[in-house]
């Protein structure tokens, strides 16, 4: 039988276990992941700052090299002649000297005012030109003497430089004589930036107008650069953190280039997924442990309670043989024990009731049997009386008269009679016994007048007196039987004493020992005691002992003092 209470108790217990185990764990894991996230973020920011600074410093080399080389060339006295006389090793020497220490950054070339390439630190392609009305040379010519940097628009297919810088070279008179052009190729960038940023990071160089110049991973040119530019033009935050990457964007002022450092997020979706999976696993373990702890405990509680409930319901259906097995010495075990005690007590009580009922029934049956054919007996006795009178046998007449009276008294419907009437019938009996025993004993009755109307169950004195006559007085000379009624507070005490042999010790008891099975000899005493107890309760009945003053038995009957009108109670 699954009671809702036990269910809810069990689930409440489980819930408590779960809260106690899971909530701290979830808080803990959330805190830990949050803390490590913040730490990582700080670390990333620091890294980004350092690396960006390093990269910008590297770019500074590019932006320093070109003006430096241009200045060095302008100071060289060879310059004015350089564009008129070709293949001059001295010019090449000057060019190499001027670009000493920065040739790993780029190839340097000298172009004349028509855009023809004249000298180069790299390979010289004969007939190679740059448009002077377009692109980098145009920009250099119109920059007012500053170095300019730009990404050639056709620079995305391998062989071309990714970044060009140009400066106008002037002769001592201040007239432009040619251009110094630096070509920065992909391998130059790779060399320049090598080791300056984390291996998992990527570098993207954007032009002044956010067109891609260089990317450490070539797919970023087409993938990331347009997106960033789009974000910038849409007024958003270019390089706002995404779930996957963090961006650091900084301008390199001398060249107007923008440096984008892309860092992969440490806490990416997959990391979070992993963390969540780990937390989920812990939660699962927590649930399992909670369930493993909670279920036996709740069973430990709910099973005994369930057994008790079952026992109670059997008890309700009047099954008094129910027994609850107890396991354990805890409170529930004690409860089961108490229950068993209670059932036993109930059972005993019930048995007693049944016993009483049975006894009552038997007494009633006996009484009915006793009333069988009463008139026939009375009439017979009357006939015997007349016959004995005619035949002059007065004893028989007297005996049959007395016997008939007693018989009538016995079979009369009333159960309670005044004590005076009881004593009168007792006298009739004693007369019969005197005739039988030839007057061998004296019979004295002491009945105070106020007790004459006291109502008593009929025929309670006759068995006591009979007992005294039959068992106590045999062979005793001058034997006396005294019946004495007296008031004792609310009760009436009737004492029957004799001076005979006295009672055997096993019969003496205060009160009369009912446990001893009624024997044939003392059936009368037993019946009287039973009648008194049934009518008035356990505290009333017979008290048997021997006369303390001398020989003989003393039987005392105790019953409540009741008058006629209250006999029904």
């Amino acid at each position: 039988m699954n009671h809702p209470q036990s269910h809810s108790f069990r689930s409440r217990l489980l819930l408590s276990f779960l809260i106690a185990s899971l909530v701290p764990m979830i808080i803990c894991s959330a805190l830990l992941s949050q803390i490590s996230r913040i730490q990582m973020k700080k670390q990333m920011e620091t890294d980004a700052q350092t690396q960006t600074a390093n990269l910008l410093t590297a770019l500074d080399r590019v932006s320093d090299a070109l003006p430096g080389a241009a200045r060095a060339l302008e100071e060289s006295r060879l310059l004015p002649r350089a564009f008129t006389s070709r293949e001059d090793t001295r010019v090449n020497n000057a060019l190499f000297l001027a670009t000493e220490g920065s040739r790993d950054l780029a190839d340097y070339s000298l172009y004349d005012l028509q855009g023809r390439q004249c000298y180069s630190t790299g390979s010289v392609t004969p007939g190679s030109t740059l448009p002077v009305r377009w692109g980098i040379l145009f920009a250099a010519a119109n920059s007012g003497g500053k170095s300019v940097y730009a990404a050639p628009s056709a620079g995305e297919d391998g062989g071309n430089p990714l970044l060009q810088g140009a400066a106008v070279l002037k002769n001592p008179q201040g007239e432009p004589v040619g251009y110094l052009v630096m070509d920065v190729y992909e391998q130059n960038f790779q060399k320049l930036f090598a080791g300056k940023y984390g291996s998992s990071n990527e570098v993207l160089i954007l032009s002044r107008y956010w067109h891609p110049v260089y990317a450490s991973q070539s797919s970023l040119n087409a993938g990331l650069a347009p997106v960033l530019r789009e974000q910038l033009l849409r007024g958003g935050h270019p390089g706002a953190e995404t779930e996957e990457f963090r961006y650091q964007i900084q301008e390199h002022r001398p060249t107007g280039l923008y440096l984008v450092l892309r860092q992969p997020q440490v806490f990416t979706k997959s990391t979070m997924k992993l963390l969540r999976a780990a937390s989920g696993f812990c939660v699962l373990v927590g649930i399992l442990i909670s369930a493993a702890l909670c279920l036996p405990l709740s069973r430990r509680i709910s099973q005994p309670i369930g057994r008790l409930l079952k026992a109670f319901s059997r008890l309700e259906q009047d099954d008094l043989d129910v027994h609850v097995s107890r396991d354990g010495e805890d409170e529930l075990g004690q409860l089961a024990e108490e229950f068993n005690h209670m059932v036993q007590a109930l059972k005993a009580n019930r048995q007693e009731l049944v016993e009483n009922q049975r006894e009552l029934n038997q007494a009633q049956v006996r009484m009915l049997q006793a009333q069988l054919n009463p008139h026939f007996l009375c009439n017979t006795l009357d006939t015997m009386k007349w016959i004995s009178k005619i035949n002059h046998v007065p004893q028989v007449a007297l005996m049959s008269t007395n016997l008939a009276d007693i018989l009538r008294f016995c079979i009369s419907a009333e159960e309670f009679v005044p004590l005076a009437r009881e004593v009168e019938v007792l006298n009739r009996y004693v007369e019969i016994q005197k005739i039988r025993l030839s007057d061998q004993f004296a019979f004295l009755v002491s009945l105070p007048e106020e007790l004459e109307t006291c109502m008593v169950p009929k025929m309670i004195l006759q068995p006591i007196v009979e007992n005294a006559i039959l068992h106590g007085l045999e062979g005793v000379p001058d034997s006396v039987i005294q019946v004495c009624a007296e008031q004792d507070g609310e009760d009436v005490r009737i004492t029957v004493t004799d001076n005979g042999h006295g009672l055997p010790p096993e019969m003496i008891g205060h009160p009369y020992k009912r446990e001893s099975a009624p024997t044939g000899h003392h059936l009368g005493l037993y019946n009287v005691d039973t009648i008194l107890k049934k009518h008035y309760g356990e505290q009333y009945g017979l008290y048997l002992d021997n006369n303390p003053a001398g020989s003989g038995a003393r039987v005392r009957a105790r019953l409540p003092l009741r008058r006629k009108e209250e006999k029904e109670c």
Binding site: V23, A30, R37, R133, F138, R208, G235, A240
Partner: protein, 336 residues
């Protein structure tokens, strides 16, 4: 349950973390330094021009590229709240037919532009001249087999002519009008060409050269610029200027009506016809400049040597729908 809610409430600020928004970069250009260009040019054409424009003016150019008709339709849809400033590219008769979307603008150096490429209304600014040419596969076709439009109708080429659907390709429509104006009567021309095509059209103008080069078609109808690029790439293709007449319709740019950055747009239009850009048009893009002071590349025949039909741009744009529906009908398609 209430307890749990409380815990969650406590956790929330922890979980939310510190999502700092980065500060906007200082380089974000203001509206006065912006320009939005819709272009139907190829990337290799618009990129150098746009980049150079940026470098020279400091104006950030936002380029939206696409097909001519697609962009023009988009301009029409956005007519109430224009997003674009300039339409860069597209045959001038296409621009003309969408003239409601554009504001007239006479560029600063208009005087230097050849009169034949000038717009009367100023609706568009020419960019480059694009004669219609015929191409053939040099391995499969003898040079003398194809000299004029009429040769296309020869049985040898039937169903072997690469021609893009004029509904889709603006240059194809120009070619169709050129064919009509080359003589023989409009209806006869259309019917003849249609029969020669044998119902086959290509989906894009780019596919014409590919089809001729790989031999799946013998001859094709395209623009000089496209043909020259493929010849330069070493494909087995030769081009022919039809002896019975070709057109030289320029492509152009136009100022969008209600352009948000109209001053920058005007600077861009001026820039596209500047001597520097026009020089580039001839040198790098295999096109003919529209400026009178910049001659065509020496390897190309000068325009004056070609038989030119009198191509009426206005007529072409006004009759566009009619001609296209006739064409579709002739090809056996449901007229649109």
């Amino acid at each position: 349950m209430r307890k749990n809610v409380l815990f969650l409430a406590l956790l929330l600020p922890l979980l939310a973390g510190c999502a700092k928004q980065p500060e906007p970069l200082s380089c974000t250009p203001g509206q006065e330094r912006r320009l939005v260009v819709y272009t139907s040019h190829k990337e290799e054409v618009y990129t150098p021009i746009v980049r150079e424009f940026e470098e020279r003016t400091g104006i950030w150019v936002d380029v939206v590229s696409g097909g001519t008709n697609e962009l023009l339709q988009r301009l029409q849809q956005e007519a109430d709240t224009p997003k674009a400033d300039v339409m860069f590219g597209g045959g001038v008769e296409s621009l003309e037919s969408y003239q409601d979307c554009f504001s007239p603008y006479i560029c600063r150096e208009a005087a230097d532009i050849s009169p034949q490429f000038q717009s009367e209304s100023g609706c568009w600014t020419p960019f480059s001249a694009l004669p219609v040419v015929l191409v053939y596969n040099t391995k499969l076709v003898a040079p003398e087999a194809l000299t004029c439009w009429r040769d296309l109708e020869s049985p040898a080429f039937r169903g072997k002519i690469a021609f893009a659907d004029p509904q889709i390709s603006g240059s194809s429509y120009t070619a169709l009008v050129t064919r009509i104006q080359a003589g023989g009567g409009a209806e006869a021309c259309l019917t003849g060409l249609c029969a020669a095509l044998d119902g086959k059209q290509l989906d894009s103008s780019g596919a014409v050269l590919t089809a001729v080069a790989d031999g799946s078609c013998l001859v094709g109808i395209t623009l000089e610029e496209t043909a020259l690029q493929h010849i330069a790439a070493g494909e087995d293709i030769a081009l022919v200027y039809p002896s019975d007449g070709t057109s030289c319709v320029p492509d152009g740019s136009a100022l969008v009506k209600g352009a948000p950055h109209s001053e920058n747009a005007k600077r861009f239009l001026d820039f596209t016809v500047s001597a520097d850009v026009q020089a580039l048009v001839g040198e790098r893009f295999c096109r003919r400049a529209v400026r009178a002071d910049i001659p065509a590349d020496s390897s190309l025949p000068p325009l004056s040597d070609l038989t030119l039909v009198s191509y009426d741009v206005e007529w072409a744009s006004e009759n566009r729908d009619r001609i296209l529906s006739d064409w579709a009908f002739l090809l056996g398609e449901v007229p649109s």
